[in-house]
Symmetry: C2
Subunit: 372 residues, 2 copies
C-alpha cells in the first residue's frame, strides 16, 4: 500500500497528449495543451533558418499542427508559447543545443541509423583531462566500441571529432549521435571498431554549458575561436592522454580527425601543421576563406604546410558540403587550391545547408571509410 503511494507520488501526471505523433505517411502532428494561451507556435529543424515559426490552431484545449510529409531524418523542434521557447511537455526525448534545449524525434528509413537498436552498444564516457596549456581540467567525451570492455588486449584506431561554433564536447554525442551511428554501423559490419574522442573546441571552456559548475556562466570561455590554443592542446595534451590511457594504435594509419565549420578550421590547422599525424582527414561545411583575422596565418606558411601535406599522402582527405551551405563558395575555393597543389581529396556534395542533418549524414558516410 505504502509502496503504491510512493509510486503514485513519483509518477508524473498521466500524459494523455500524444506529441509528436508520426503518422503513417510521415507527416507529423504536434500537440500542446494550453487552454488559456493566446498563441502557440512551432519551429522545427525541417524548416529554413529564416522561416517564421508555424502557428498551431486550437481545438477545445489542444493546440495542434500537422506537417507535410517529412523525409527520413533526425529532427529537432520547440514550441513557442506567447513567444517563449519551450520543450514539448509530451515528449521526453530532448537534447541540449548549446545553452538551449530542443525536443527531438526521428523519421525512420536510413535515419534509423540514428537511434538505439538491439545491437551491441559501445560505452560513452565523460572524461576529464588536465590541460596545462589551457590552465584547467577539461571535459571530453570518449566512445569506446562494444568489444572494448570485454576484450582487454585488443587495440583500436581513434577518430577525433570536432564540433562547430556554439557547440561543445557533447554536441556530436547528442546530435551525431555518435553512439547510435557507431554502434549500428559496427553491428552491420560497415565500420571498423574504433574509439571516438569528442573534445570541446573552445580553449576557454572547461565543459559544456550544463556540465560545469552549476550557477556558472555557461558562455564563459566561449571566445578566441581559432586562436590556435585548442589545436595545440589537442596535439600535445588530448592525444597523449588518450594514447596513454586507452588501448589504441598510435601510428598515423590508425588516427583520423574530422570536424565541421569551426571544427573544420581547427581540423585544417592541426593537419596542416602536423601532416604526418593523421592518415584520415574529414572537413565539413566550410572550406578556405579569409584567414587574415585568425592566428598564425600567412600565405607562405600555408603553402609550405600544404606541400608537406601533399607529400604526406593522407589515405583519405574527405570534403563534404551542402549545396545550400552559406559557406559553399569557401569549399569551392578550397577544392580549387587543393587541385592546384595536387592534394587528392574525395568530395561529397549533398542537398541542404549548414545543418546537423548534413553533419549526421557525413558522420555516417565518413566512418565506414576509416581504417579500412
Amino acid at each position: 500500500m505504502l509502496l503504491l503511494a510512493v509510486l503514485a507520488r513519483a509518477q508524473p501526471t498521466k500524459q494523455t497528449i500524444v506529441s509528436p505523433q508520426i503518422n503513417a505517411d510521415n507527416t507529423v502532428t504536434f500537440r500542446l495543451k494550453a487552454p488559456t494561451a493566446a498563441s502557440v507556435k512551432l519551429k522545427g529543424s525541417w524548416m529554413k533558418d529564416n522561416e517564421a515559426p508555424l502557428a498551431l490552431t486550437k481545438t477545445d484545449s489542444i493546440w495542434s499542427f500537422t506537417t507535410s510529409r517529412l523525409a527520413p531524418d533526425f529532427y529537432r523542434y520547440n514550441f513557442y508559447l506567447e513567444g517563449v521557447e519551450l520543450l514539448d511537455p509530451a515528449n521526453s526525448y530532448a537534447e541540449r543545443a548549446g545553452t538551449r534545449y530542443e525536443s527531438i524525434f526521428i523519421i525512420g528509413g536510413p535515419s534509423s541509423l540514428y537511434t538505439i537498436k538491439a545491437v551491441p552498444h559501445g560505452t560513452i564516457s565523460a572524461v576529464w583531462y588536465p590541460s596545462p596549456t589551457l590552465g584547467m581540467n577539461r571535459r571530453m567525451m570518449v566512445y569506446t566500441p562494444p568489444s572494448y570492455l570485454e576484450n582487454t588486449t585488443k587495440k583500436y584506431p581513434v577518430l577525433y571529432l570536432l564540433h562547430g561554433a556554439g557547440g561543445d564536447e557533447y554536441a556530436w554525442i547528442a546530435r551525431g549521435p555518435v553512439g547510435a551511428v557507431l554502434d549500428n554501423l559496427i553491428a552491420a559490419g560497415k565500420a571498423k571498431e574504433m574509439i571516438v574522442v569528442v573534445t570541446n573546441g573552445y580553449p576557454g571552456q572547461i565543459a559544456s554549458p550544463n556540465a560545469g559548475p552549476v550557477n556558472s556562466n555557461p558562455q564563459a570561455g566561449v571566445n578566441n575561436m581559432g586562436n590556435g590554443r585548442f589545436e595545440k592542446s589537442l596535439v600535445s595534451e588530448v592525444m597523449p592522454f588518450i594514447e596513454k590511457r586507452y588501448r589504441v594504435y598510435t601510428d598515423k594509419n590508425n588516427r583520423a580527425i574530422a570536424g565541421f565549420s569551426m571544427g573544420r578550421l581547427q581540423t585544417q590547422h592541426i593537419t596542416n601543421a602536423n601532416p604526418n599525424l593523421f592518415a584520415y582527414i574529414g572537413v565539413m561545411s566550410m572550406g578556405l576563406q579569409d584567414n587574415n583575422r585568425l592566428h598564425i596565418f600567412n600565405q607562405e606558411e600555408y603553402d609550405h604546410q600544404l606541400n608537406a601535406l601533399v607529400k604526406a599522402k593522407p589515405k583519405l582527405y574527405w570534403i563534404g558540403t551542402g549545396k545550400e551551405d552559406f559557406l559553399y563558395s569557401s569549399v569551392v575555393n578550397l577544392r580549387k587550391k587543393y587541385d592546384e597543389v595536387g592534394l587528392h581529396y574525395e568530395y561529397r556534395e549533398t542537398e541542404g545547408g549548414h545543418t546537423w542533418s548534413n553533419w549526421s549524414l557525413y558522420l555516417s558516410e565518413l566512418v565506414p571509410k576509416l581504417f579500412q
Copy 2:
C-alpha cells in the same frame, strides 16, 4: 569574416535576462520575459509538494519573483506559462527528472559539495550490459574515481546505488549528483576512492526515458516494481559484469549497496536474501511496511533471512529518513524489528521529507563511512 558570420549564426540570441539570480542574502530572483502572457507561475523544490505554484508579477515585459532566504541546497524549479510547464530559458543548467526536465541551481555552503570544482574528476560512463534474465541489453552508469584511468593496476571497492520510483539509471548521476559528491569527498580526503554503479531498477526498462530508442514510449517497462526480477539481475548479471570488466575487489568488505524508497525495498530484498554479499548497506526514506503485495514475502522467510543477516554482521547498516517523510512510520517499524532481532544499525534522522535534498545529503554522509 565568414567565420564571424558562422559564430553569429550559431550563438543564441543574446540573453539579457538574468535568472535565477542568487542574491547576497541567499534570496533568489527568477525572471521570465513574456510580454503577452496573462499568467506566469513558478514551482521550486524548496516548496512543499502540495503548495500551489507561486505567481510572478510583471514589470514592463519581465515577470519576476524573489524568494525568501533559501538554505544551502541543490534546488530544482520550473516556470508555468499559462499553466504549461517549461524550463527557465535563461538558465542553461537543467536536468531530466523521469520524463520531465527541471532547471537547477545551487545555494552554496555545504551544498557546494554538489557542484563541479577544480579537483581531480572521476569518469562517468554509460555502459550497456546483457541481461538474459530480463531479456534485453540494459544501460547503467558507472563512476570510476580519478585515479582509475591512470593507475592501471589498482583495485577499488564498489558501491551499488539504487533509485526510487519514477527514477532511472541517470537519476543519482543528475541529482545526487554522484560525480561531484564523490570527486569532492575524495579530493578532501573524506572518502575512499571507489567505483559507483547506478542501475535502472525497473526490470522492464532498457534505459532512462531519453536514452533509449528515440520516439519510443519512455514509460515502457515501468512496472512490476519489487517483483524480484531486478534484484535477481543485479546479483546474477550486474555484479559479475562489473567484477569481470572493472578492476574491483570482490569480497564483501569491498561491496556496498544503498537505495532510497523503491531502491530501499530492492536493497533489502537483495541483502536479506544474500546476507554475505555486502558489508555496507544503506536504506533511505522507507522502512518496513506491508510487503504482502510484493514477491516472495512471507513472515517465516523474512525472519529466517534477518537472522542470517544478524549473523553475517554487516560492518555498517545505515538507516536514514526525514522527520516529515510520509513513510516515517515504516522506518519506526523497521528499527523496532531490527532492535528485536539484534541487527545493529546506525540511524540518521534529518529535517524534511521524501526528497532529493535528503537523498543527496544521505549520499554525502554515507559515502565517507564506506570501506574505512
